[in-house]
């Protein structure tokens, strides 16, 4: 059921689109495109994860595995078996979604820490397979020779071209997600995140929703992963270990749980932060940690909602 978005949402989305189209005109070097592209890829994963964490209230530390499965499946199918990309990506995404379903059904019966441990375990298993299954994955040294994305005669072989593609994909998924959370399904998810027992007392099939949104979030991660593989054309298992899972969960939390715009902000800030911290040289890890702690101490509900609150407070004082 497709419903028109509310007018305030349209305004935000139009602003967002204009910004995405304008930024390339003012960027001085291609290096910045690389960062913006990584931001978009992270933002796609964060988007799905935010639906799972922020709305349904289920935490996963295994999404790097779905990101990796998306990348490796599409990468192997094209590089080793010569599949066309327009087939390999859908197959990669669908296969990952099925894996998500098989993982989700047993693990989402767990709650809290146990769910975190189970998804973390899944991530580690996938990492081990990527390293050990040398013949298929290229092992620890990685998989090379993945072709660039190609549509008709246009080959997406530069940072600048990929920029338009990946931000368009993010935009579409973002709109779909906004629509989802505004629907009956979205309300049901929030009810589950709030109190699963009350939700089931209202007739909401809690288990089915939890597994469903888990699969959706795995699917988003797989989309990002397969785009990533055809962007950098070389993938290695290290990119998809559980540190990446922690990173994306951190992006959700730092940006602000339960708001899609906040998730986008979280992805942008935490992707740029290490680059900005190059100026403090060897202290960058230390400062990175300090920044994260400061955010959690001063803005426990997340950066974007926190700043919004501060802003409203200041506005209020001005009026008085």
């Amino acid at each position: 059921m497709i419903k028109l978005l509310s007018s305030s949402k349209w305004k935000q989305l139009i602003l967002f689109t204009v910004a995405v189209l304008l930024i390339p005109q003012i960027l001085p070097s291609d290096y910045y495109f690389l960062i913006l592209n990584i931001i978009a890829l992270n933002a796609i994963v964060v988007l799905g994860l935010n639906l799972l964490i922020g709305f349904a209230g289920q935490i996963s530390l295994g999404h790097a595995a779905f990101y990796g499965l998306g990348a490796y499946i599409s990468g192997i199918l094209t590089a080793s078996y010569g599949w066309p990309i327009f087939l390999s990506i859908p197959v990669a995404v669908l296969t990952t979604a099925i894996v998500g379903l098989l993982v989700g059904i047993p693990t989402l019966k767990l709650e809290g820490h146990y769910l975190v441990m189970a998804t973390l375990g899944f991530n580690i298993i996938v990492s081990i397979i990527l390293v050990q299954w040398d013949a298929m994955t290229g092992g620890p040294s990685g998989l090379a020779g993945i072709p660039y994305l190609k549509a008709f005669s246009i080959s997406i072989d530069s940072d600048r071209k990929f920029y338009y593609l990946v931000w368009a994909v993010l935009g579409v998924l973002f709109c779909l997600s906004l629509n989802l959370i505004d629907s009956r399904v979205g309300r049901a998810l929030r009810a589950i995140g709030e109190d699963p027992i009350s939700a089931s007392a209202l007739g909401i099939p809690v288990e089915r929703y939890k597994v469903g949104i888990f699969v959706v979030s795995a699917l988003y991660a797989a989309v990002a992963g397969s785009l990533y593989a055809h962007y950098v054309t070389f993938i290695s298992p290290k990119t998809f270990d559980f540190f990446y899972s922690i990173e994306v969960v951190t992006m959700v939390v730092v940006g602000g749980i339960g708001s899609l715009w906040s998730g986008l902000a979280g992805a942008a800030i935490l992707t740029m932060l290490p680059e900005i911290l190059e100026i403090v040289k060897e202290y960058n890890v230390l400062v990175y940690g300090a920044v994260l702690m400061a955010v959690l101490v001063f803005f426990p509900e997340g950066l974007l909602p926190g700043i919004k609150k501060l802003w409203q407070k200041r506005q209020g004082q001005v009026h008085e």
Partner: protein, 244 residues
């Protein structure tokens, strides 16, 4: 309408209900009264399918409820207003009510749902005023009204009310009781769980007294209101007279 035949339920190894039987007839208000921990809420949760029944049967309109999932039971027409209201605090009043109608969007009943919104806003005009307000900011009484409204959005045949008077000012309790009478006049059947025995028995046709997981007494409300045991234990009245 609802028949419960000698059920037992357990929390781990502790027996919470033993051999409980109870019935509610069509368009009747039945009160279940008892002290803290007597098993009142447990019984409601067993009916709603939130906790399993280990022995005995629950029938609703001759259909067996044992083993059904909570959502299937809601679909059959039983809605529970949980203890302590349990509304979704960060969501608006409207969203809470929409969630109450969750089971009905499937069947494309948009128009009827809009009518139900009107009906509930007529029942509780304050909710219309607060429609777009985050429900956590409502007062206790308003939250209780919202919880009842949310349950009614599912268009139940049987409403299970768990301690609707808990923590509310006496005046608000009166409003809630009036609402219960109102709903019954409109054809709803109600099973009311209360610690506030006097209030509950005033609106109920019949009552059951539950103590440590067993039904101790049952009878017409008038009889229970004057029953010496009930008066001594739950109405806190006539202590002296009783001992004289």
């Amino acid at each position: 309408m609802l028949r419960i035949k000698s059920i037992h339920t357990y929390y781990k190894k502790i027996r919470a209900l033993s051999n409980v039987s109870l019935s509610v007839r069509e368009n009747e208000v039945v009160a279940l009264i008892g002290a803290n921990g007597a098993g009142k809420s447990t019984l409601l949760n067993a009916i709603s399918g939130l906790i399993p029944v280990s022995r005995g049967d629950i029938f609703f309109k001759n259909k067996k409820l044992n083993g059904l999932k909570p959502e299937e039971i809601v679909n059959l027409g039983i809605s529970q207003v949980p203890e302590g209201r349990q509304i979704f605090q960060p969501m608006t009043v409207k969203e809470n009510l929409e969630l109450g109608a969750y089971v009905r969007f499937k069947k494309r009943e948009k128009k009827e749902i809009a009518e139900d919104f009107d009906r509930i806003y007529q029942l509780f005009p304050i909710l219309r005023e607060r429609e777009d307000q985050v429900s956590g900011t409502l007062s206790g009484g308003e939250q209780q009204m919202l919880a009842i409204g949310r349950a009614l959005m599912a268009r139940p045949r049987l409403l299970l009310l768990d301690e609707p008077s808990m923590g509310l000012a006496p005046k608000v309790v009166t409003t809630i009781l009036k609402t219960i009478e109102n709903l019954r006049r409109n054809g709803l059947t109600i099973l009311l769980v209360e610690q506030n025995a006097r209030a509950a028995l005033k609106v109920a046709d019949r009552g059951y007294v539950i103590e440590t997981g067993r039904i101790m007494l049952e009878g017409d409300s008038e009889d229970l209101l004057v029953d010496n045991d009930v008066r001594r234990s739950y109405l806190g009245k006539d202590y002296e007279k009783f001992y004289e």
